[in-house]
Amino acid sequence: MSEYSITIGTLIAIQAIVACGLNVIVGYAGQISLGHAAFFGIGAYASALLTTAGGLSFWSALPIVLGITGLIGLFLGLPSLRLREDFLAITTIGINFIVVSVFQYVPFFGGALGIGGIPRIVLFGERIRGVSFLLLSAGFLAITLLICWLFTRSWSGLACFALREDETAASSMGVSPVRFKLTAFILGTAMAGLGGALYAHFMRFISATDFGFPMSVMILSMVVLGGMGTLWGPVLGALVLGILPEVFRPLTDYRMFLYAALLLLMIRFQPGGLLGENSLARQTLSRLKGGKS
């Protein structure tokens, strides 16, 4: 594998982890978030600061990073208890802008220069780079997917589905909206934090602009494209949106246009996403299964 495709693959795996996190919030619990990149950024900055200024290793910093992003996710999830749908969407956009400006203008976070010199991850005495980093990211993606899968099978997951479908009915069945919306926010933002930490140690240099609103839109596009509320949807979405720009590299100026067009087409023809219910992929799959048995 070339250096180039390893880099693309690693970034896709990292973004898939972040998209899985957003899927917990948007797809499972039905809470709209247009500011998910903020948590991607919080994870990256937390890990970068803890390993440079803090002098910790990636591994000892990681639990703290997950704790910090989850905790901030909890606080920023509080508006979701009072706001619905469009108002929540606008609030989360606002949160994204605030977080980016804090990174950009507060000297502690390196200001416009960002943070550089982030150490490599060391595992079994080896400095992780290249293919090893790709494998490490894929491993973390696998763990993320496992947690998502376990979550959908747990009573907490079912409670989130019920909230997504009808909050009033769900609460009359013993589901506390406060408890389970915040659970989804904590879980989802912690996954974004994990993605952020990996990103920081992969790029080894981060700046606030990496985590702006366009990144949030891109992550949401991955979830919608792949299929909200499905297990593999965000991974597929990250793959497609990660590979397409490389394939269409000559069209780089039209990238945002292509995203928009793709999203519109999806909403029009496959509203459930590529892996959603009644999607072409699912129908073909069930036809194949039916043919075998």
Binding site: W155, L158, T168, S171, S172, M173, P177, R179
Partner: protein, 255 residues
């Protein structure tokens, strides 16, 4: 009066200047079917919403099984043993009929950290839910998406979900409206069976024939106040009730 399962004392619910409920008091005894009737806008649904925790009453006291419950949120009321249905049905449309019922079966898991992490796809849970679906006659549609069911089946699904909570008290908000004749008869049968299984019932009903036939006692609300309370036959002949329903001067024609 300490035998009362549910008791409302001087419950008032004001929305700004509107007195939706004005010092309403009544008791529901263990094992009875109590009907809440009254003209449109009398405050029946508001009364339901204060009992089920959707609204916190402006003043007054609600006791359920001896504990004070006014102001508790809906999910706490469910945990205490109050199940409810909605006047405008509220299914979980993208979940299957079976999953809709299983959501209610998780009542005892949602409040605690470790049980809420356990899987819900167990065989025992499924069998219990299927049994409840069989009771309301929906077992053949268990794997269908709830959003695809016609209204009659949705009303039965709402009942099934409420039953899956294993409640002490069931609140039925116009569970008969919009149903065809034969469906009403089936639903009446279901409500009777439910009571026989030891669940007390408070219901709102517009259809007088159903309310009179099903309820042990009736409470009549009008303009947010309790107008009358008693056995169906005494309510039927109460001149005040007739006046509230038919207007002044109508009483002569009603009898």
């Amino acid at each position: 009066m300490d035998e009362a399962l549910l008791s409302l004392r001087e419950i008032s619910m004001h929305f700004g200047g509107l007195k939706a409920l004005d010092k309403v008091s009544f008791d529901l005894r263990e094992g009875e079917i109590l009907g809440l009737i009254g003209p449109n806008g009398a405050g029946k649904t508001t009364c339901f919403n204060t009992v089920s925790g959707v609204y916190r009453p402006t003043s007054g006291e609600i006791r359920f099984r001896g504990t004070r419950t006014d102001g508790l949120p809906p999910h706490r009321m469910a945990a205490l043993g109050i199940g409810r249905t909605f006047q405008i049905v509220r299914p979980f449309p993208n979940l299957t009929v079976l999953e809709n019922v299983i959501v209610a079966a998780g009542l005892n898991c949602y409040g605690k950290l470790i049980p809420s992490c356990r899987p819900w796809k167990g065989r025992k849970t499924r069998e219990e839910a299927m049994e409840i679906l069989a009771r309301v006659g929906l077992d053949s549609q268990a794997e269908q998406k709830a959003g695809l069911l016609p209204l009659g089946n949705l009303r039965r699904l709402e009942l099934a979900r409420a039953l899956a909570l294993k409640p002490h008290l069931l609140l039925l908000d116009e569970s008969f409206s919009g149903l065809r004749h034969e469906e009403i008869a089936q639903q009446e049968e279901l409500v009777r069976k439910t009571r026989e299984s030891g669940i007390s019932i408070l219901l709102i009903e517009h259809n007088m024939r159903v309310a009179m036939g099903l309820c042990d006692r009736l409470v009549v609300l009008d303009h947010g106040m309790k107008l009358a309370e008693g056995k169906p036959e005494s309510i039927r002949n109460n001149p005040e009730v007739i006046r509230a329903y038919l207007g002044k001067g109508g009483s002569a024609n009603a009898s």
